[in-house]
Symmetry: C2
Subunit: 124 residues, 2 copies
DNA sequence: ATAATATATGAACACTTGCTCATATATTCA
DNA sequence: TGAATATATGAGCAAGTGTTCATATATTAT
């Protein structure tokens, strides 16, 4: 424990802060989970899908038209979002309608948007 | 415009929804920006750095001890966070102290944590 | 000046990611 | 049943990512 703190040429520079930070640090598993959520939001295509679905549900074909992308590309991304439970779907015949399935994601998306708006103001 | 909507074997399935979604869809540049922000949060190491810095500033050496990672790896990630203005730093002699530099990121981090906590409850 | 040390960084490498293309599956319609 | 069509998915490939290793830079101490 204490021994593992030895580094930086055998001397921890700020032992108290290191101990404090170590106590409150999120664990590796939590970090992995968090990273997975943010990874889902770290791609422009998926963000545009989420944006497109923020008002209405849409079928895969509609989505590919809206995004101007191939059905295959959209479908692959939808699978990813589905696996992370960020979107839900319902089937009506051969048509599959996708919709957002997570208020947290809506919040994260909105908060991110605020941030970009903030950034743009800073640059102006 | 209207022509570009033709797809899915020449027939748009839900023209109204497609037009509505197209109007409110975030543009490609915004999507890129947003993706960049979330990308910064999409890696376990960077999330643990953010977590470690959430209370106190820490120097690079302290950080590498806290995270149990090489100084080089931490330094590379700090550069990335620095370039996105997510962390700020101050130099004191040869020691460089890093701290969070963005309330939005703190909020996003917190919101993400809530989500993982929610997920864990769902699984229990 | 020289040695020691905190941090930064380039190159390389394994691994991941997002797309395309081809094709499979499932449902509807004739 | 067989053709048409909405969606899903596997393989493959180009581009991106996170680490290590070696080394550069900058500051302090002798």
């Amino acid at each position: 424990m204490i021994k593992s703190l030895a580094a930086c040429e055998e001397t921890v520079i700020h032992e108290d802060e290191v101990l404090a930070a170590s106590r409150t640090l999120i664990n590796r598993q939590t970090a992995e989970r968090l990273a997975q959520i943010f990874s889902a939001l770290s791609d422009p295509t998926r963000l545009r899908i989420i944006s497109a679905l923020s008002d209405h549900e849409l079928c895969v074909c509609d989505l590919s038209v809206v995004l101007g992308m191939s059905q295959s590309a959209v479908s692959h991304q939808l699978r990813l979002l589905r696996n992370l439970n960020l979107v839900k779907y319902r089937k009506e015949g051969r048509i599959v309608y996708y919709a957002l399935d997570d208020e947290h994601i809506r919040e994260l998306f909105g908060l991110g948007l605020e941030h970009t708006a903030h950034q743009e103001r800073m640059e102006a």
